[in-house]
């Protein structure tokens, strides 16, 4: 019995670990500046805890194998433990864990402790059940006023743009996020109804969109292409369908797009969506 259990534990450990090592299923290739650091930290953590996992499981298997009751030992070893060991493994784990914790802050700090760098490309993100609205400031770089009262679904004015505001003349609103490559992007995230979550797996980036708040976050995408954009916070019935795309465009192509008036913008985005392919998954 003891042997069988040991072997099963070892096999399960082997299976679990290999699932992580063959990497048949793994992160999609990263496309943001902070991602490599993050992936390194992830790998490091996985290795540390993986070792711990293996060590613990192998140890467990060893114990049940070695110390199964074979009937040839009359009594077990009589001990109440060893304070030396306690101290050792407490300190060791403490060091490892706190170490990991501290290292785990760097990417976070770089993303969340400071404003977007100057010259970042601003986008207003307005989520709603169950669609994304991305509000582009246009050539003047100034966003037109928005007002919940002015929201008018029939006129496709989903974010309540104020026609009276001159700044909105060159603005455009679209359900697809188009950002320039290698240039910081600043998103001003808010929601019209319930909590949603902006998520592009390739970006290794997530943030809730909390109604009543405008949360400013920033990242830099560094690979041109088309990527899927998901809502990662339960927001109701069609949460799983609240999908859109993020286009990462070469600077000039992006410039040209942003310059376009609303309707031309629409058609252009459709072309671009056709032009760029999703990464091979």
């Amino acid at each position: 019995m003891g042997r069988v259990l040991a072997v099963i534990i070892w096999l399960l450990t082997l299976g679990s670990v290999s699932l992580f090592f063959v990497k048949k299923w793994w992160f999609p290739t990263a496309i943001s500046e902070h991602a490599p650091a993050l992936d390194r930290q992830f790998l490091l953590t996985i290795i540390v805890v993986g070792l711990a996992f293996t060590a613990a499981q192998v140890g467990l298997g060893y114990m049940v194998w070695k110390y199964r009751d074979t009937g040839n030992r009359e009594r077990a070893t009589y001990t109440h433990g060893s304070s030396k060991l306690e101290v050792i493994w407490t300190t060791v784990t403490a060091v490892i864990f706190i170490g990991l914790a501290v290292m785990g802050q760097s990417v976070w700090a770089s993303l969340r402790f400071n404003e977007a760098p100057a010259g970042a490309f601003p986008v207003e993100v307005v989520a709603q059940q169950f669609q994304w609205n991305f509000h582009y400031a246009g050539t003047d770089g100034v966003f037109g006023r928005t007002e919940p009262k002015l929201i008018d679904d029939s006129a496709l004015n989903f974010i309540g743009l104020d026609e009276a505001d001159p700044n909105m003349k060159d603005d455009s609103v679209h359900s697809v996020l188009a950002v320039p490559v290698n240039r910081p992007v600043e998103l001003a995230l808010r929601s019209k109804d319930v909590i949603h979550n902006f998520w592009v797996p390739e970006l290794r980036f997530k943030q809730d969109l909390v109604p009543g708040m405008v949360i400013k976050v920033h990242f830099t995408a560094n690979r041109v292409g088309k990527y899927e954009l998901a809502c990662a916070e339960l927001c109701g019935q069609l949460h799983f369908k609240m999908k859109s795309y993020m286009l990462v465009l070469p600077a000039e192509e992006h410039q040209a797009l942003i310059g376009l008036p609303q309707d031309a913008f629409q058609t252009r985005v459709t072309e671009l969506l056709a032009k760029y392919q999703l990464p091979a998954y």
Binding site: L5, I8, I9, L12, G15, W25, F27, P28, T45, I46, A52, L60, M63, Y67, D69, R75, A76, T77, Y78, H80, G81, L85, E86, W89, T90, T93, A94, F97, I98, A101, G104, Q105, V107, W108, R112, F113, Q128, I151, D153, V194, I195, W199, P201, F205, K206, Q207, D208, P211, G212, I215, E228, A230, A232, L234, G236, Q237, H239, F240, L278, Y281
Partner: protein, 616 residues
């Protein structure tokens, strides 16, 4: 307070009428069994729901004729609707967390064995004890009511996840299906449950502090008692906060207040304040709800696992025939976990828009809570080391607990880092994490406890052969279910998705998803063995002796099942620590806590509390 305890003790002579004996009983043993039965019913509901969920996830758009007839609304012509799925998720989570893992480990086994293990005749407040159970039961009935009166015939309950994030949960009907009556019932049920647990908790604490028999010093208590005690303290301090939050959330829904609802919302074509369907709301903060919820929520997860840890330590020592390794360290670890458990709730809110600086603080505290857990793990291994392990089913499940707890715990260290939570939050990586620790480690603790204490509770043995089959399949099964979920999470599969068909990047995962579902269905079916074994053995099992496992603690001093007042009038007197196995020179390899000191035992060595340097 002369006669105080006295009055408590003889408050209730053994009842005779069936009702007073088995239904409205004030006997902690009966109440404990009632709690366990409640959990066993609840878990059936929960498991069934999980199977339905898996079916929908891995074979989307398939017609399940049975479902069509069972849920004409939720699965029109047998195809599950997204809202049906989401309500399943919500109910699955709620029922499992509240009505399975907060009832069986504490209210069930705690109720039954805490008084016996400390040598008391009953709980400190028998009537309050009965009340707690019936209140909890009402809570369960209300949550079941939410299945049938969910407000939309296409759902089987509210849609909000077991965390019921506002404002989705606060806005009412206009927020879509599953936001009607069902959500009210959900909140009410939780509130009722809070009250029940509160009463239970203060009963446990009083009992343990005041009613320990002579010689049962704190450091001679079995680790199970420490675990139940700490759990009770956690419950006492965390449930009231959820209760407060619940009241506010309910007011938002029924009284038109806006504690958690900010201004200027626009939903399903209506502006806040447009008309009576959507009254004016302003000034509320969704994040406040998350704080209130998780301030309770994180301690709750330790409420769920601590009793399992206690049972595991207890059982490992018993069947390794060896004192617990580092008893004192174990006690400190339990306490450290309980204390730190209050300092880390923010790790559920890294991405929620919470201040990034608090996030960092929470992150570091979160990883420090891994330390006491690690200490416990190592001490469990230490307990096995040098033992003479007897592989009873209970022991197998206890060992399984250790294995699964490590597997689930270490991923907590990944999620605990703010940076890594960016990709991992709300993916199946989280689902994998908490199912391994909570979903199955804690449950394994309960299995172990059931197989271990069944003889004491019912005076009959459970069938070992069946039990072992149950263990092997379940053990392998749950690994197959929940380990692949990690990789799904790494690929980026989000939680609470009714289907994964929409996203290209998830397509490659389909084989894995199907594999998991098959494993899940197999595992769930295996549980039939457990239920059969349980109820069959109750009536047909082989008669059990008073101490079938040759264990040392007080519950094995009394008859199986124990008499109405636990010790037939004479309270035991305790002479030594709880786990004195393999004592050199002792007549046999286990010394009951009640055995008088043999001459050769060095004096004062009885306390069993990690007399270190005591190795040979």
């Amino acid at each position: 307070m002369s006669g105080e305890a006295h009055a408590e003790v003889h408050r209730h002579p053994a009842p005779t009428s069936f009702i007073r004996k088995y239904i409205f009983s004030v006997d902690h043993k009966v109440i404990g069994i009632q709690y366990i039965l409640l959990a066993l019913v609840a878990v059936l509901v929960g498991m069934t729901m999980s199977v339905l969920m898996r079916m929908n996830l891995s074979w989307p758009g398939t017609n399940w004729p049975i479902l069509g007839t069972l849920f004409p609304g939720g699965a029109p012509d047998g195809m599950m609707t997204p809202e049906f799925y989401l309500s399943l998720v919500t109910m699955h989570g709620t029922i499992m967390v509240f009505f399975v893992l907060t009832t069986a480990p504490q209210g069930g086994f705690g109720n039954y064995f805490l008084p016996i293990q400390i040598g008391a005749e009953d709980m400190a407040f028998p009537y309050l004890n009965m009340l707690s159970f019936w209140v909890t039961l009402v809570g369960f009935i209300v949550i079941l009511a939410a299945i049938f009166f969910s407000g939309a015939e296409s759902t089987v309950g509210p849609i909000g996840g077991w965390t019921g994030y506002a404002p989705l949960s606060a806005l009412g009907q206009i927020a879509g299906p599953g936001q009607g009556m069902g959500m009210n019932l959900w909140i009410i049920s939780i509130a009722i449950f809070c009250v029940g647990s509160l009463l239970g908790a203060l009963n446990f604490i009083t009992t343990l502090l005041n009613m320990r028999t002579r010689g049962m010093s704190l450091m001679r208590m079995p680790l199970t008692c420490w675990a139940w005690f700490t759990t009770a303290v956690l419950a006492l301090l965390s449930f009231p906060v959820l209760l407060g939050g619940g009241i506010l959330l309910l007011l938002d829904r029924v009284a038109g207040t806006s504690f958690f609802i900010p201004g200027g919302l626009y939903i399903s074509g209506l502006l806040s304040g447009a008309d009576e369907r959507f009254p004016i709301h302003t000034g509320g903060s969704p994040i406040l709800w998350q704080h209130l919820f998780w301030f309770f929520g994180h301690p709750e997860v330790y409420i769920a696992i601590l009793p399992g840890m206690g049972a595991t330590s207890h059982i490992l020592a018993t069947f390794a025939r060896k004192p617990v390794f580092g008893y004192r360290a174990m006690v400190f670890a339990i306490f450290a976990i309980g204390l730190l458990g209050f300092f880390v709730w923010g790790h559920h809110m890294f991405i929620s828009g919470m201040s990034p600086y608090s996030a960092m603080t929470f992150s570091i505290l979160t990883l420090s809570i891994g330390v006491p857990s690690a200490v416990k793990t190592f001490n469990w291994l230490g307990t096995l080391w040098g033992g003479r392990i007897r592989f009873t089913t209970a022991m197998l499940f206890a060992i399984g607990f250790v294995s699964l707890f490590v597997a689930g715990g270490i991923t907590g260290l990944v999620l605990g880092q703010t940076s890594l939570d960016l990709p991992m939050h709300d993916t199946y990586f989280v689902t994998a994490h908490f199912h391994l620790v909570m979903g199955v480690a804690s449950i394994f603790g309960m299995f172990a406890a059931t197989y271990f204490w069944f003889p004491k509770m019912f005076g009959r043995m459970m069938n070992e052969k069946l039990g072992k089959i149950h263990f092997w399949i379940t053990f392998v099964g749950v690994y197959c279910i929940f380990v692949p979920m990690h990789t799904m999470g790494i690929v980026g599969m989000p939680r609470r998705f009714a289907q994964f068909t929409e996203y290209e990047y998830l397509k490659s995962l389909h084989p894995l998803v199907v594999f998991v579902s098959i494993a899940a269905i197999a595992t769930v079916l295996t549980q039939v063995l457990f239920y059969f074994n349980l109820f069959w053995s109750m009536f047909k099992g082989a008669k059990a002796t008073d101490n079938p496992w040759e264990a040392t603690t007080l519950e094995w001093n009394t008859a199986s099942p124990p008499p109405h007042d636990n010790f037939a009038g004479v309270l035991p007197v305790v002479h030594r620590g709880p786990y004195e196995f393999a004592v050199p020179g002792a007549p046999n390899d286990f010394m009951m806590q009640t055995d008088p000191e043999p001459a050769e035992m060095p004096a004062g060595d009885g306390s069993g509390n990690g007399h270190n340097g005591h190795k040979h």
